[in-house]
Amino acid sequence: MLLTVRDVEKSFTTADGNQPVLRGVSFDLEAGRTLALTGESGSGKSTLLHLVAGLDAPDGGQIVVDGADIAKLDDPGRAALRRGTVGLIFQQFNLIPSLDVAANLTFHARLAGRPVPEIGPLADRLGLTDHLSRYPEQLSGGQQQRVAIGRTLAARPKLVLADEPTGNLDEATGDAMMALMHDMVAETGASLLMVTHSDRLAAMLDARLHLRSGQVDMPQAAPRTGTAGA
């Protein structure tokens, strides 16, 4: 199992006191499978994704990514996990503004110590050949998201975590992005855990996990429940 999530709990302290965000969430994701994470705003989808990425630590429960228990990893250990095992794609793209497109595309792979893919074919595939020397702010949203997808997949992570990757794009561009991401994930053999509001996009993946008020909403998770590839 590439990803195991067991009874994960997380709460945040706000002005109104302690607010639970995740309440005992459990699911599994097998290598090479794709899983959509859906739910209302505030249901805890992004928080769960951040916990799986090792960006934050759960208050309780267990998250095991590729054999590593995130709760037992220290800060450098979680950083190493993000470098080597996990790839992140954000709704706002979160490219590195100080680097040009070419440097952004290869950045994660070089950081992870992986062989750097040839930039020409990769850029060609992403439709970025004419934009390699540009900076993120000089690109459209769709172009930026293509760089983000290319950056992640060039690093060949075992687990791709995407947080509403098409949320800022129009439907046509979003569909194109989705297809590109889907194809590239399939080619690299990575697993994909994607947060989305869109039923249409969720239906493109192997399975769906619906969250409601911080818990897995079992009825809506049918027919393929919270386990992708089980």
Partner: protein, 791 residues
């Protein structure tokens, strides 16, 4: 609505107290240092004016030349309305001794004593009463008659009857005769060898000290500019961060005019706050520096400045005006942009920094243009103002060029970087340059000023020390009270010294201007040591033969008198110029003739002063023996080492204030850097978070921050070296020549630069430490918020 909008605008400062603090401190520092320097200058100038006005000396013509009371009597008998004045330094002190004749002195002018009290006139005439200014009561040397305070007497003055003053000085000479009535028609007949000088605007002292005060003003202006950089950066950021609020307020119905008005009112409130703090700071700075300045001016120019400082209403007004002008300058651009802002203009706090990178290119071109202007002023300009214009253009041009140069260097670094982290650090540092540019420019100015002024002072010190060794080659300097005592002393010294060199001098005119003429004996002391800048072959033989004269550098530069030209020495005649010698610290023109030629021109001049050559190991014994047997006061038998020590102490004091201002300016620049780094740290989270998310630890990211600040400060320090050297060159070759009349060689001090560079690095490291520590300790949840918040 206005009140609600104002509250909303002010809420920004409640949530960003450090930003508010930075702004207010920046404004207070800028205003305070400027006001402090101006207060010192104002206090000094008031003292000069008061001193110049004593006994109406600033408004009356005077007769100068070799004069005694006999000449005064002759002038009075010839019907001239004149009054004699003795004006000299009080022995064993730095006070000024004024001797007057109470019967002929002009009444009603400041510093005229009231002698109407019982016994006052008699006491004054018999030397039992003198008058002093309030500040010198505790500084009077022992042995003076009883002193009474005269409140309106200028600082540092001791006023005595002319006979009393002559007795104190041990001389029968008078300094000049003030003409209180009609100008004499036939002066040459009545008092041959004297010159009538018209009263001129400003005093000798105020003219002499002008360049010193100009220096202080330049430093004050520099500190003001550096402080304004802080204010500009803080205001620009605050405006940018509040753009969403502006947009909302506009969308809710607040007109553009009213919003602009509210923000202008906010600037006024900040002006009052920063201005008040600045005035208090300025007062403290002035109070702390004034004693040093007073000592410097006293030591260097003999100018007395009152040590007390008064806080005048003009100060308050000036302080607020400067704070307001500074804020208007720093915030005007933001207000202008706001007034033209479309209602739905997007907020771009991150783009703000990058948007400025486009302006950096234009800025670079402007900087280059200013350097060309500086070079033109340096090469072609005439006068002190051209010198300072050259300085200003050089400093501003270099500061404007700094960001483009740094950007280009970092760009090359990013291209050459091997690993992804190194590449990111180079690129990220380059991206930070626009946000840090104002602080780095401030640092460049402060460092360049330090290097430039430090090089000037170092060059001055080295040259001055060497010059002292040359000029003061004799072991002892002796002054006799009269010719009889001189004869006794010389007879006594026969066989005990290797040479006795008479020092004779007379006041003359040099190309029409008052000057001193000396006569020197033909001796190896002068041949081997005299600090010549230019000389004809066989100079000393020709001088001894009366075939020409030497002139000092000041006179040479002022009147273009170089070997080959002829100098007109008034009553002494005209001579070919044989050579030019350096004569630091002397504002007047000076010339030297061989002793026979001098004696021929001034046969009446008594030989009272002598330079004595003797083996070094016998100096103390001879000095002690002569002093004991002839009852010579210390000032009449001076050891060469004592003169050098005194001269060097005066020199060191002269630049103590400059050093203090240097450190203050550097401190302001360090604060600017800290403020910018702290502010940017808050803005940089969206840039750092993706890198962290991709697998770099917070520790590593945090460690990169001080490294980045050190690299930028180091690069700035390296660039400051050529700017500082250029500044030193302008100071030494342009400003000094215009202000003092002499030129000094530029002697670089690389070890000083290295120390300064280290201090800059320490300052940058300290400035970056807190933001880096915060980043290191930043909870991951805060970084995650970057991704969550942007949804």
């Amino acid at each position: 609505m206005t009140r609600a909008a104002f509250q909303a605008l002010w809420s920004h400062w409640r949530r960003h107290p450090i930003q508010l603090l930075t702004l207010v401190i920046g404004l207070a520092l800028a205003t305070g240092l400027w006001i402090g320097v101006q207060a010192i200058n104002a206090q000094a100038r008031a003292s000069y004016d008061q001193a110049a006005a004593a006994l109406g000396q600033d408004s009356l013509p005077r007769i100068t030349g070799p004069l005694t009371l006999t000449d005064f009597a002759r002038a009075r008998r010839a019907g001239l309305a004149v009054t004699p004045i003795v004006d000299d330094r009080l022995p064993r002190s730095r006070l000024r001794l004024l001797g007057i004749d109470p019967f002929t002195a002009p009444g009603g002018s400041p510093g005229t004593p009231d002698l109407s009290g019982a016994g006052d006139l008699t006491g004054f005439l018999t030397g039992d009463l003198i008058f002093v200014s309030p500040d010198v009561v505790d500084a009077l040397p022992p042995g003076l008659p009883p002193a009474r305070i005269l409140p309106d007497l200028a600082p540092g003055i001791v006023l005595a009857d002319i006979a009393t003053a002559q007795a104190i000085l041990g001389s029968e000479a008078i300094s000049h005769l003030l003409v209180t009535g009609a100008a004499p028609v036939d002066l040459a007949t009545v008092l041959p060898g004297t010159v009538l000088e018209a009263p001129v605007a400003g005093t000798d002292v105020s003219r002499l000290t002008d360049s010193f005060h100009l220096n202080l003003t330049a430093f004050g202006l520099l500190a003001f500019a550096v402080g304004l950089f802080i204010v500009h950066a803080a205001i620009g950021l605050a405006f940018e961060q509040r753009r969403p609020l502006f947009r909302t307020l506009r969308a809710l119905g607040l007109s553009s005019g009213r919003l602009t008005g509210l923000l202008a009112a906010e600037l006024v409130a900040l002006t009052i706050l920063g201005g008040t703090l600045g005035i208090i700071l300025g007062y403290l700075v002035a109070a702390a520096l004034l004693p040093g300045v007073a000592a410097t001016l006293g030591g260097l120019y003999g100018a007395q400045v009152a040590g007390g400082l008064s806080l005048s209403p003009l100060w308050w007004l000036t302080g607020f005006a400067m704070a307001g002008a500074g804020l208007a300058l720093a915030g005007g651009q933001s207000l202008w942009q706001l007034a033209r802002l479309p209602v739905l203009a997007p907020a771009m706090p991150r783009a703000w920094a990058r948007a400025r990178s486009a302006a950096i290119r234009r800025q670079g071109l402007g900087g280059l243009a200013l350097l060309v202007v500086a070079a033109a002023f340096g090469a072609l300009g005439q006068g002190l103002l051209a010198g300072f214009a050259c300085l200003g253009a050089l400093l501003i041009g270099a500061a404007l060029l700094l960001p483009p140069i740094l950007t280009a260097v970092l760009d090359v670094g990013a291209r050459m970087a091997k690993g992804p982290i190194a590449q990111w650090i180079w690129a990220d540092t380059r991206q930070q340059v626009p946000g840090l540019s104002l602080a780095l420019m401030a640092l460049l100015l402060a460092l360049a000023a330090n290097i430039g002024v430090g090089t000037m002072v170092g060059s001055f010190r080295t040259t001055f020390t060497g010059w002292l060794d040359q000029r003061l080659a004799s072991e002892l300097y002796l002054t006799a009270a009269d010719e009889a005592e001189a004869a006794s002393l010389l007879a006594d010294l026969e066989g005990r010294v290797t040479a006795i060199l008479p020092i004779v001098s007379a006041e003359v005119t040099l190309q029409g201007a008052p000057a001193d003429l000396f006569g020197v004996a033909d001796h190896a002391t002068y041949r081997d040591n005299w600090p010549l800048l230019e000389a004809v072959p066989d100079l000393w033989e020709r001088l001894a033969a009366g075939e020409g004269a030497l002139v000092n550098e000041q006179a040479a530069r002022r009147s273009d008198l170089w070997p080959g030209s002829t100098v007109d020495l008034g009553p002494a005649g005209a001579y070919p110029v044989l050579g030019v010698y350096s004569d630091y610290g002397n504002p007047r023109g000076q010339a030297i003739l061989g002793l026979p030629a001098f004696d021929a021109a001034f046969p009446q001049t008594p030989r009272l002063r002598f330079a004595l050559r003797l083996p070094q190991d016998q100096v103390t014994a001879v000095q002690d023996d002569l002093a004991a047997r002839f009852d010579l006061p210390p000032e009449r038998l001076v050891n060469q080492a004592q003169i050098k020590a005194f001269s060097l102490s005066v020199f060191e004091q002269t630049f103590a204030v400059t050093a203090a201002l240097n450190i203050l300016t550097l401190g302001v620049a360090a604060f600017a850097l800290w403020a910018s780094l702290t502010t940017l740290a808050g803005m940089r989270l969206p840039q750092i978070a993706p890198v962290w998310a991709l697998g770099l630890t917070r520790r590593r990211l945090a460690l990169a921050d001080p490294g980045r600040a050190l690299a930028l400060a180091g690069a700035t320090a390296i660039l400051a070296v050529p700017v500082g050297i250029a500044l030193a060159w302008v100071l030494l070759a342009v400003v000094n020549v215009q202000a003092f009349g002499w030129r000094l060689p530029l002697l670089p001090d690389p070890s000083g630069w290295i120390w300064l560079g280290l201090w800059a690095l320490i300052a940058a490291g300290l400035a970056a430490a807190l933001p880096a520590w915060r980043l290191w300790r930043l909870p991951p949840a805060q970084l995650v918020k970057v991704f969550a918040h942007e949804r």
